[in-house]
Symmetry: C2
Subunit: 353 residues, 2 copies
């Protein structure tokens, strides 16, 4: 069914189904390995991971699968905030900290060497595939990874960003439509003007690229995967579909929220991290609306809200958690990762078109 | 290729390709008839049309085709604005009127009997198909049209709106994804939370409906039409693809703008009509940004900006015109309507998936 598919050859996988490298503990080694063992590409979401944790996770994955897998990392940014701006952003968060009984105000903490240290681990561990979000890494790093035979996946939210990814040497690129859950990968165009729906983004990107293309955004089942290929992609990346699966490390409240929500509830918010991301609206998102200007830039805001998100999960208060979800939550299911992959493959074969 | 397609049977057409009933003079009788003669469903965009103009256009279409065609009308709203609000909205428009040499301030003019009079014409002329935007008409009107054997198409931007359309007796419904050009058809959910991408909207609606489903939003070619069907729709509605075609009555500046723009330039604005609509950003859209609260509700704002839009077209000033476009302008072509339909049919046959 996937004849002449360059992506399968490039990634050395059986089915053009990629599990997105979601950060925040969703992508357990068990999840990543289950997807890879089922013939797709599992991906460790290492965006915020400390190098030592990342190393452990990679070794955990290797213990569970002999198939290729990927690791996703975030291309870093180094924003600046004045003491006054930090104070204002903290004051906005005060009511939530009080509600949860969190005492201290937080100074944003950013490890400026994180990315380089992560890259070193990827090379040491010779991971098969590395994907990037929030930009394209420096040419030196691209070359180092390529020299090790690591396949590189870029992320684009516009045609221009996709072309840049190809020009800089990415082996394949994910075109992330506006339906996608979690963070927007936008790095070149303005956020507002980069909310391109998957139906529009994929064929327009496909017309411009020479490297294989992976569609993302709103894809949850065989219909979405096959539609992606019809639109000109070589495969599809699914995030939300795997958040609710058995092996996912997502908080139970997060899984439940996705399984019981509607497409209209998955909104874009900058309130958790400073970068636009799609998640299920709740008290935190609503209360922060209208205060956009006082939020710190990513990743400073992310650092400020970390304690709130963690404590909210502990106290079972989903109204203060980041509940990332794409726009197709009605298609979510609580099954094993292997079953998701298998049912997609079976469904794509059945579809009449 | 379109075996067992209920939509083809319902509309009595050969190909599941519907030309959207765009208002503002785009849908000339020549365009509507060309699409219907090619085996799709042409649609007259009669949203703002006076009954007598509408009647003439319908008769013009009948002279050019024996095949079924549709007429699109807007379900009316009756908003109110105080003198003060009208004054403020007019002051916002002053710089544009000055620039174009338009003298008088405008009182918003709304014909409250327009919709009923339009319905009467549809019945008199026994049009084959009628489609609605901005809501569901009263039950009495639905019954009157059905009694005449007129097939009814509703518009939905969320799953909930699609279900309402079925419950109220529509024969089929267009699921309008966020990629779509022109006005959002939203009538039940909030505008912000109804920007659901086509890739997400179509399968989630398909799972809930018993009537045939038409996908819309970002669809421009055979890839989009076939992807729509893979996602669970029975056909696709295309707007922007037909704006640039030879028979379209769109202003030359509008056609040129679509043919030469990028997906990132097609933004949502309320500035022209009071309702959110997607068009190519220009001076007017940018200058009106940040003044959202001072805009009148639809259709009052539409009435206020009419003179500006008209005069701008006359003076060849596209920077003040409404340049409606979906998010796939890179796929637009300047060919005949028949060629668009034929190339879609040919392409859907060629696609490997």
């Amino acid at each position: 069914m996937w004849n002449d598919n360059q992506l399968l050859e490039l990634l050395n996988i059986h089915h053009p189904i990629i599990q997105a490298g979601m950060a925040g503990g969703v992508t357990t080694p068990a999840l990543v390995a289950a997807v890879s063992n089922a013939g797709g590409l599992g991906t460790l979401g290492a965006g915020y991971m400390k190098p030592e944790t990342m190393k452990e996770s990679i070794q955990g994955i290797k213990d569970l699968t002999k198939s290729p897998f990927g690791v996703n990392v975030f291309v870093p940014e180094n924003p600046y905030a004045t003491e006054k701006e930090i104070g204002e952003a903290n004051r906005l968060l005060e009511p939530f900290r009080n509600e949860l009984g969190i005492k201290e105000e937080t100074k944003p903490q950013v490890d400026e060497c994180l990315f380089e240290n992560q890259i070193n681990i990827l090379i040491e561990e010779r991971v098969p595939v590395c994907s990037f979000t929030f930009g394209i890494p420096p040419k030196g790093i691209i070359q180092d990874l390529k020299n090790e035979g690591i396949v590189l996946i870029g992320t684009a939210t516009t045609v221009e960003e996709a072309i840049l990814n190809e020009q800089y040497g990415m082996d394949t690129v994910v075109a992330q439509g506006s339906e996608a859950g979690g963070h927007r990968g936008t790095f070149s165009n303005s956020y507002n003007q980069s909310m391109i729906g998957t139906m529009s983004l994929v064929p327009q990107v496909a017309d411009q690229l020479n490297i294989p293309l992976i569609a993302a955004g709103g894809i949850m089942d065989g219909r979405g995967v096959r539609a992606s290929i019809v639109l000109g992609a070589d495969g599809a990346q699914l995030g939300t579909a795997f958040v609710t699966c058995k092996e996912s490390g997502a908080k139970p409240q997060h899984k439940e929220a996705i399984l019981h929500t509607k497409e209209t509830e998955a909104v874009i918010t900058r309130s958790f991290s400073g970068k636009p991301a799609r998640g299920i609206t709740n008290t935190f998102v609503k209360e922060m609306e209208g205060h956009e200007r006082k939020l710190l830039d990513y990743p400073l805001q992310n650092s400020l809200t970390k304690g709130i998100r963690k404590e909210a999960a502990k106290q079972n208060r989903p109204e203060f958690m980041s509940l990332w979800s794409g726009q197709s939550p009605r298609l979510s299911r609580s099954v094993s990762a292997a079953e998701i992959v298998q049912s997609i493959v079976a469904q794509t074969k059945r579809i009449k078109s």
